[in-house]
Every structure is written in structure tokens, then in C-alpha cells.
Amino acid sequence: MGHVVTSGAVVHDSFLDVGSEDPRFAFMEAIIALAEHDERIVALDADVSRRTLTRHFRDRFPDRFWDLGVAEQNLMGVTAGLAASGRIPVACAFAVFVSMRAVEPIRTSICYPRLNAKLVGGYAGLSNGKDGATHQSIEDVAIMRSLPNLVVLSPSDAILADRIARAAIAHEGPVYVRIEYEDTPRIHEPDVRFEIGRGIRVRTGSDLTLATYGIALARAVEAARILGQAGISVEVLDMASLKPFDEGLLVGSTDRTGALVTLEDHSIVGGIASLAAETLLRAGRAPRFRALGVADCFTESGKNDELRARFGLDVPAIVAAAREMLEDRVVTDGATG
């Protein structure tokens, strides 16, 4: 069932191999719905409007959309000027270019003056497998979360993409949303609530905390199910608000489970592995800890899921990491007991 974005315009086209659960559709549907009632909301793109779906925003609001061409720095500078003049710009491009090519205009002309701009990074993580390392965004969380005033959000499914779009627009200040453009199952309940600064406990458990964000959540939930069959009780956290980060949720969970695995389609440098380590050390906690992420190396071309297997981010890798960690605990407990 294709998502209808505006007035009968079906987003699916044969050129895009996307399914009904790709979070970008729900995100753009929400932005357009909000824009119907708030003429301050405008959109910009950098020659990728077919992919980011700002094309539908353009079709609905032709006077409120600008395609800046292949010029991400100018995209962010123009976004800053619009925001400084009372507009609420939603600037969309690919995450790898938003977070790196355009980072200094974002830092100095958007975050420093705390302008009310929404920056959307598409094809985040490994969701653009075939294009290879140049187009995969495995550093954006690390980079963007280092910028003061910037909120960093990551939807894990279509339902949360809708909530995050609404939260981003409602927030007065700069927001970065990284979106993976890939079919993913709906994990969250249709009435799930999202709040900036809050994570979501997707599944409760007592032996291990599995903390993730983005569409890796589906793999985390599947791994938890498999581990559950083996008698290992896994708590799954969707840390969709990467900044501000829900420290209380993470610390509370690991206090109960005593073990943590972080999972991310991102470098292990600066993403949730770093966030968790910083959070737990600051809180004086030292649970057992394994970080699953791209191990500080460049990626390559391939099918998205094959790359996840190659870089140790698939369900078997999660299950293996959890088992290894908990077996180790049993052995240690036995040795000291």
C-alpha cells in the first residue's frame, strides 16, 4: 500500500525501490501536514528532492520550496537566512553531505545563533549500501552531537518518523534528523509518544540491555526474541533522541541488567557506543559493555543487509555478542563464587 503524501499524489515511483515502511514517507507526510497549517514552514533541497521527497512539498507549496542545486553549504546558509527571518526551514539532503560538506555553516550560522532550522540527513547509516563509502553516513551522529544547541534525532520506523517530524517542528531551535531510507518493520505502537530527550523502552528484560537507534532497532528486537528463546532476557531501548540523550533510561536499565550492548549503523566512534560510555562513567557505573558498530573503518558497496553482516551489525552478530558476554559472566561468577 503506497503512502499518499498529498492530494492523491502517490509517492511510489518505479525508480525508487521503496516499500511502504520506509520512514522517509511518514516523515515527509507529517512535514507537509504541519505545513498546511503553518505557512512559516518552508523546505529546501540540494538536487535530491526525488529521494528526500521534498518534491512533494514543492508540488503542494511551490512558493515555499527552493532547490539549491548541488551546493550543500549554500543550502545551509540560505536555511540560516530563512530561519533568521522567522521562517521554519526544513533543509533536506544526504546525511553524509549535510554532516560533513555543510557542517561549518551549520555550526556557525545555524547552531551558534540558535536558529529555528530543521536539517534532515537522508540515506543515513548503511541505508545506501550500493553507492559505497562515499555516500554512506557513519560519522554524522558523532559530528552533529558535538554541536552546541543542536538536537539530534533518529527515527527507527515509520511511526516514530511521524512523531519525530512533529517534535522537530514543535521544538524552537535547530534540529538534525538522520533518516535511513530503507524499508523497515513497524516496531512502535501506533500511539507511541515521543519526546525530545526521551528514549523508548521497546521491550523489558533482566539479563542484558540492548540500546540502539534508527532502523537497527528491528534487528535488536529480533535478536532479543532469539535470545529470549535461549533463556536470556533482553531489554531493548530505542534511543531515538541522541541529543539530548536519555541518560536516566540507560542508567536505570543497566542498573537492573548489569550488561550493555550498543548497536548502531554508524561508526563506533562518537555514536551510541560513545554516548553510553560517557553516560555510564559519569554516573559512576561500569556494566559489562560491548559496542557493535562500524569499527573505525571505511565501508564499501553492497546490499544493505550484506554490509551489516560484513561489519558485524546483523542479528547473528548481536546474538553472538550477547551470548559471549553473558557466558563470560557466568564463568566469572562461578570462578569467584
Binding site: 505557512e39 512559516r40 518552508v42 512558493d63 515555499r64 527552493w66 539549491l68 542545486g69 551546493a71 553549504q73 549554500n74 545551509m76 546558509g77 540560505v78 536555511t79 540560516a80 537566512g81 530563512l82 530561519a83 533568521a84 527571518s85 522567522g86 521562517r87 526551514p89 561549518e104 555553516p105 556557525t108 550560522s109 551558534y112 545563533p113 540558535r114
Partner: protein, 280 residues
């Protein structure tokens, strides 16, 4: 609100006042960018006392004309203008670059009343100004946007991304004022990285281009008047020939006065130069 049109003599007197403020600020701070502040002093004076539709009592007025100081290192001249135009107490100028001051080394719109944009990283300003111009068109709130740029930042790639886009979007309410003082940190622009023929480049990008004597009030005022009458189908650039360090004899056309510290002796010489000019 605009003032009743000041004479060029009045503008000259104001500009001299602002130049003295700049020297005073940089002397007290022990650092700051004198050369480009002085070259742009006459431009800034015309903008704030003659050209821009502004109201210092209503700094957030949505329909005010905007200035983006893209050459943000020349903050002192704009701070002086804002203070003397009534946005804040001129006594605040003495705090320039001090810890906790409203007057940062480069402009911070969240700290300084009257600033329309934060700036300081060269090459951002034209993009930001274009965004403001598009916001005016989309919102229906009629205002003009001026972007004051240095010749050095013509070397930034982002400037040309924005130049292309401004013409593409027919940003007729957008005006760049280029402070063409020909000097940058490492030397003459012609030696470091030639930007000429800069007028031809902007014309080729689809802009209106006006040649202006940027330290001459007659030429400046005439240029702004001409600009107002140009067809609103494209952005315009005023290429203003200026002298870096204008008004202070030992600073004029001297690269080393891009930024730096003033000794007591040089401070007094500079103020003497400006005082003599004031009385002339």
C-alpha cells in the same frame, strides 16, 4: 525609521565619529580589525543613516531592512554604528572583546541588539542574505537585505554557490556591497588570489553591477539611489573601491593593519589623524 536625508557633510562627520570609536575600541581591547573597519566606515554610515529602513527603538521590527556583515571581523564599525544610531549605550563599546561582553570579537546576534545575523566565518554571508531575501518574498513582508562583503571572501567557494542561486531565484531585494580595499591578511588580493575581474564575474552570474567610490559619500549615495531604481529581476552588487585603514595615515593601504594591537603612541596618532579630519 529613516532619518531625513542627511547631507554628505553630516555623513562625513558621523563616519569620522565612528572611526574614532573603532580606534578607541581596538586600542582598549588590545586587538581587533582596524583596516577593514575603517575602509567600510563610509559604507556603514550611509547604510545606517541614510539607506536602510530601520527603527532603533524596534530592533526586531519584521519589516526592517537587514544587514548581514559577512566580513564579520569588521564588527567594530557596525558596533559603533549601532551604538551611535541608538540601539544601545555607546558606553558599551568600551567592553568590546572583553569576557562577558555583548560585543564579541565577531558579531553574535544573540548578544548584540540590532545585529541581524551572527557572522565571522567568511563566505557565509551571501547565502544567509539570500535566505533573508527569499523569506521576504515568501512571507510577503517587504524588506531589503544588504550583505557587506570583503574582497578576500570572494575567494570562498560558498560565495559563488550563493551568487549563482541569487540570480537563479531573481533575488531582487538582495544587494551586496563589496568593500574592495584590495588587501587581505597575506597581502594584496592580486598577489594572494586574484579576484578580478570581479565585476565581470558577477555580471556573468546574472547580477546588476555598479562601480562605486566607496570612500566618497556622493558616489555612495548616488549608487544606492541608482540601485533602488534598477529592475527588481536580479540581485545587485555595489563594487566599492575603498582604502584599507582609511582616515588613519599610518594604516592606509598597510596590510599589517588588517588586525592588530595599537600602542598608546599609535592610538594617539590615529585619534589625532581623525581629529584633524574632523576639524577640516
Amino acid at each position: 525609521m529613516s532619518l531625513s536625508a542627511p547631507t554628505t557633510v553630516e555623513l562625513d562627520r558621523i563616519a569620522n565619529r565612528l572611526r574614532r570609536d573603532v580606534i578607541e575600541m581596538i586600542y582598549r581591547a588590545g586587538s581587533g580589525h582596524a583596516g577593514g573597519s575603517l575602509s567600510a566606515a563610509d559604507i556603514v554610515t550611509v547604510l545606517y543613516w541614510s539607506e536602510m529602513r530601520i527603527d532603533p527603538q524596534r530592533p526586531e521590527w519584521p519589516a526592517r531592512d537587514r544587514l548581514v556583515l559577512s566580513k564579520g571581523h569588521c564588527a567594530p564599525i557596525v558596533y559603533a554604528a549601532l551604538a551611535r544610531r541608538g540601539y544601545f549605550d555607546p558606553a558599551v563599546l568600551a567592553t568590546f572583546r572583553q569576557t562577558g561582553s555583548a560585543l564579541q570579537g565577531h558579531p553574535d546576534m544573540r548578544r548584540t541588539v540590532g545585529l541581524d545575523m551572527t557572522s565571522g566565518s567568511l563566505g557565509h554571508g551571501l547565502s544567509v542574505g539570500l535566505g533573508m531575501a527569499l523569506a521576504s518574498r515568501q512571507s510577503g513582508i517587504d524588506f531589503r537585505t544588504f550583505v557587506l562583503m570583503s574582497d578576500g571572501e570572494m575567494q570562498e567557494g560558498m560565495t559563488w554557490e550563493a551568487a549563482m542561486a541569487a540570480a537563479h531565484f531573481h533575488a531582487g531585494s538582495l544587494t551586496v556591497i563589496l568593500d574592495r580595499n584590495r588587501l587581505q591578511v597575506d597581502g594584496w588580493t592580486s598577489e594572494v588570489m586574484e579576484i578580478d575581474p570581479i565585476s565581470d564575474k558577477f555580471e556573468a552570474f546574472g547580477w546588476h553591477v555598479l562601480d562605486v567610490e566607496g570612500n566618497d559619500f556622493g558616489s555612495l549615495c548616488a549608487a544606492f539611489e541608482t540601485r533602488r531604481g534598477l529592475p527588481p529581476d536580479r540581485p545587485a552588487i555595489l563594487v566599492c573601491r575603498t582604502t584599507k585603514g582609511k582616515g588613519v595615515s599610518f594604516m592606509e593601504n598597510v596590510m599589517e593593519w588588517h588586525g592588530g594591537t595599537l600602542s598608546r603612541e599609535l592610538y594617539e596618532r590615529a585619534m589625532s589623524d581623525l581629529g584633524a579630519m574632523d576639524e577640516a
